[in-house]
């Protein structure tokens, strides 16, 4: 049985935040008498993550995903509750703990802007106490996996966003961490660069059995990488479980477009008891529940003269969008 590598119990986090009224009056008031209030951004959450799992954190902007990630990697002190990552208390930032983790943020960079990425890699290698030979070996291996080569020797400021992100990944993985915290890693990347990055993460997880915690607003990242998702809503966990179960729950029916050979067949099908959404000439769209899709299609193909049929999955963004605005999902 796989061990829990991350264990979070009754975790809460509050921030003191000052608010300001609009206009000059508000500005003067804010300058002399700043009103601060304590805002609880994470409210009593608990979960655990097993070694080698890829878990997606889903939530609207400001839901608390990044705060959770930052507490897990030890950047922010929790206000209440406990966190254990790889057997360490993250906020103590012990050397052995830091050698085990990495944080990659799509909107922030650690590479030295005026120099080629290779210089940053060797700098990081010295920080992680790797000798030159070992560093060279790891850079070669990772650059092959990431499919970057010439870019390593061009100044960072001359690289495209996709090339830069690949280099950021390499810089963040040179110490071969066991746990990866990724905060919107595909932000701003084009479709091909997003796909390359996802493929790399899959490969990395498969080869090293690294645990990956990921936040992303691109649903393709979540669906292609994560079997399990944790949905965060206003600082609480609204769902923690398998992604496919969530999708089934949220979209229990599929739409099937059936093209009949003749309009008479379409009329026959319309009156045969299926849940019809619409009918245009010989094309008819019906809704079928997920659990009866195979039997229903078999019946249709056996009893009607069908020219073609298309099964339409509901758009994943639309389905997940429902999660982001709901407080609780019991599945």
């Amino acid at each position: 049985m796989l061990q829990n590598i991350i264990d979070v119990r009754n975790l809460s986090k509050s921030f003191d935040i000052s608010s300001k009224e609009p206009g000059i009056k508000g500005t003067i008031k804010h300058f002399f008498r700043r009103q601060t209030k304590s805002l609880k951004v994470i409210k009593d959450i608990s979960f655990e993550i097993k070694e080698g799992e890829i878990v997606g954190f889903l939530g609207a902007n400001g839901a608390g995903k990044t705060t959770i990630l930052k507490m897990l990697c030890g950047l922010i002190y929790p206000s209440e509750g406990s966190i254990l990552v790889s057997g360490y208390l993250p906020f103590r930032r012990k050397e052995n703990f830091l050698k085990n983790i990495t944080l990659i943020m799509g909107q922030k960079q650690q590479l030295i802007w005026d120099l080629p990425p290779i210089e940053s890699f060797y700098l990081n290698a010295s920080i992680y106490d790797l000798d030159k030979f070992e560093a060279k070996k790891r850079i070669k291996k990772l650059s092959e996996m990431l499919e970057i080569d010439e870019e390593l020797f061009l100044p960072v400021r001359k690289l495209s966003l996709g090339q830069r992100m690949k280099s950021e990944l390499l810089a963040a993985l040179i110490h071969e961490p066991n746990i990866l915290f990724l905060d919107e890693p595909t932000l701003g990347l084009d479709i091909n660069a997003q796909r390359n990055l996802r493929e790399f993460l899959q490969k990395y997880n498969k080869e090293t059995n690294a645990t990956i915690c990921l936040t992303s607003h691109y649903m393709k990242d979540i669906t292609s990488l994560c079997k399990r998702v944790i949905c965060v809503h206003e600082g609480t966990i609204s769902y923690d479980g398998k992604l496919d179960l969530l999708l089934k729950k949220l979209s229990p029916v599929k739409e099937v477009l059936i093209v009949c050979r003749s309009e008479e067949d379409a009329i026959k099908l319309e009156n045969s008891g299926f849940n019809v959404k619409n009918k245009i000439k010989n094309e008819i769209t019906i809704k079928i529940e997920n659990n009866s899709i195979t039997s229903s299609l078999k019946t249709i193909l056996n009893n009607f003269d069908i020219e073609d049929l298309f099964i339409n999955e509901p758009p994943i963004d639309e389905v997940i969008g429902k999660v982001l605005i709901k407080k609780n999902y019991d599945i």
Binding site: L75, Q107, W113, S126, I127
Partner: protein
């Protein structure tokens, strides 16, 4: 602390920051010219003060040049290490890139204090040393081992005090987010360090000795150069430097508990 690792990392810091700076050759050239002109301007200003009166606060022009020499070395160190690194702390905190520093298995204070280097500051350090050598000649100072050791101790203490003051102010960014002005005030106070402490009124002397110890930074090392310094003053400078260094370290570690990172 693994000293070998820290030396290795520092070697990399030197390499990467020099390589970054050498990407912009014109900028380095302008910085070098500025350093030379700034020293000439300072000496010219000092000579104007001494034009009508041979002495200021009991110091002759030739003696006051020693203070200028030490100030130039310290200013060179400021421009080489403190300015490029410690002003970055504010940026790191405002933009949240301190996250990357805190997640590295290396001391965060070491990282943010020494990562960058501005090579044009080296020229100022060299100019300061040349000026001091010139002062040693014109003031007919006897170079003995004890003189060299005491000079080294007091100048090192001055560097520590200056670093700690600057680092302390930069650390407050964790709460106040923007502290550029406080750093500018500190820099302008440092200009005062070009003049002998005795040239100020009693109240200002107290202020610059206790509240902002500029007096310790240039005057005491200069007194050592002239053989005027008393042992208690040197000991006091060592104590002040140690207290400042330890306090700035403790303050940094305390402040990190309040670091909330920038939002994404």
């Amino acid at each position: 602390m693994n000293l070998r690792k820290y030396l290795k990392v520092y070697k990399k810091f030197l390499h990467t920051s020099l390589a970054s700076e050498f990407e912009y050759k014109t900028n380095i050239l302008v910085d070098l010219i500025t350093a030379i002109l700034s020293l000439i301007g300072s000496i010219f200003l000092l000579s104007i003060f001494f034009q009508n009166n041979g002495y200021i606060g009991g110091w002759k022009f030739e003696q006051a040049l020693i203070i200028q020499g030490i100030y130039t070395i310290l200013n060179g160190i400021t421009n080489t290490w403190f300015n490029p690194n410690l002003t970055e702390i504010v940026k790191h905190i405002r933009e949240g890139t301190l996250d990357f520093v805190l997640l590295k298995p290396i001391d965060s204070q070491f990282f943010i204090s020494l990562k960058k280097i501005n090579p044009s500051g080296f020229l100022e350090i060299m100019l300061g040393f040349f000026l001091l050598l010139f002062c040693i000649r014109i003031n007919q100072i006897n170079l003995s081992l004890s003189f060299l050791i005491l000079s080294l101790i007091t100048i090192s203490c001055s560097i520590c005090i200056l670093y700690s003051l600057w680092f302390f102010i930069s650390t407050t960014t964790i709460w106040f987010v923007k502290t550029w002005n406080a750093i500018e005030v500190l820099r302008s106070f440092l200009y005062i360090g070009r003049f002998p402490l005795n040239s100020f009124s009693f109240s200002l002397r107290v202020f610059f000795s206790i509240f902002i110890p500029i007096a310790f930074i240039t005057t005491i090392p200069s007194e050592v150069f002239l053989g005027l310094s008393q042992l208690w003053k040197i000991l006091l400078e060592v104590i002040v430097a140690s207290v400042f260094l330890i306090t700035s370290r403790k303050f940094w570690l305390f402040a990190l508990k309040f670091y909330s990172s920038a939002s994404s």
